[in-house]
Symmetry: C2
Subunit: 211 residues, 2 copies
């Protein structure tokens, strides 16, 4: 396929490189550093070129949008006529300016609401494994990840221990405001299990290079 890449930072750069190695032709565009863009295309080789966002949008039968959220709506108005009818793949996470949260998305969570109503308790959130996955993995060799977050170190230590006792892997996700990511992530897993037919026994694992 011919793929136009709008936003050739870390994500767009890696995706375009891997696709070019698979035999797709790619056109990198939209870096703040035009020389870097050209070096990237040269390094990738014969299947890669570089150009303006308009050239990339025109070039691609598929267009990848991989720019920071603050720039996304601006650049798509520039290329709108050129992507009509084409598949446009977006991998934009709408981080706010200082990446402390999402600009499009919630600044609330159930865990924080609960904490506000229970200021005297030491709150931690524990989410990310479906109950049925704990059942089967308990007898098996794999264990699902279970994420926990909170402000109180003592509550977090308890959470980590009790996750271990489910034979799940405790992943420290940070402070309680991370519940804003964790609750939608758990909702995603439930949606996959029920709405998308992957089944109630699926689980997530966090994999690392050394695994």
């Amino acid at each position: 396929m011919d793929i136009g890449i709008i936003g050739s930072g870390r994500m767009g750069g890696v995706l375009g490189t891997l696709w070019a190695r698979q035999g797709h032709r790619v056109c990198f565009s939209y870096s703040r550093d035009l020389a870097r863009l050209e070096r990237l295309a040269v390094a990738v080789g014969g299947n890669a070129r570089s150009g303006t966002p308009q050239e990339a949008a025109q070039f691609g039968e598929v267009v990848l949008l991989a720019v920071p959220w603050a720039l996304a709506l601006g650049v798509i108005t520039q290329v709108a006529p050129l992507v009509a009818g084409k598949a446009l793949l977006t991998c934009v996470i709408p981080w706010n300016e200082d990446r402390s949260g999402l600009a499009v998305g919630t600044d609330r969570s159930a865990a924080e609401e609960i904490s506000r109503h229970l200021p005297s308790a030491r709150i931690a959130e524990v989410l990310g494994a479906l109950p049925d996955s704990l059942g089967w993995i308990n007898g098996g060799r794999q264990r699902p990840a279970m994420f926990y977050c909170g402000y109180d170190p003592q509550a977090k230590a308890v959470a980590a221990q009790l996750i271990e006792d489910l034979n799940a892997e405790p992943i420290d996700a940070g402070c309680l405001h991370v519940a804003r990511y964790l609750e939608p992530a758990a909702a995603l897993l439930q949606h996959l299990a029920v709405g998308q037919g992957y089944g109630p026994e699926i689980g997530l694992q966090l994999v690392r290079p050394v695994d």
Copy 2:
């Protein structure tokens, strides 16, 4: 540990059962069906009892909150004095009434905003693997999950194929509104990588019982 379980449905029931098997003592509470609650405690055996939410909150040095969101704030006001200073673990996902979305959380996403600004393009979102994870897993035996969602079947087919070409596993997450879960889930992964020190090369895998 002594663990009070408030909300003994599927999630609270399984967690309490597994913890009791590990030697913790649990008190199940807050089921619409009191006979079911007692059967659950009997089935689990000597480490389990059942009671009211107040009894469970009093019993536990740790309290698990596992009720539907619509009931959460009501029940915690009933037990507030009893959980003061205790670790309270919440695994409440704030689903709305018909479970079509989150009641506390966003009803917006970058992908939907982009789609609104580009009605003529066939939008799919592709998220869930960090660029550095694609680098290392490409040379390895494990591949990270990459989730895609959208309304347009053609764009989704392209997304799935191009995820395969990254040597990642394409997971069909459904319609474009699932971007409301997917973007925070991707934010969680980035936060783990950078903010929590798990490193830029981590990835998620979807595991199933047959794996």
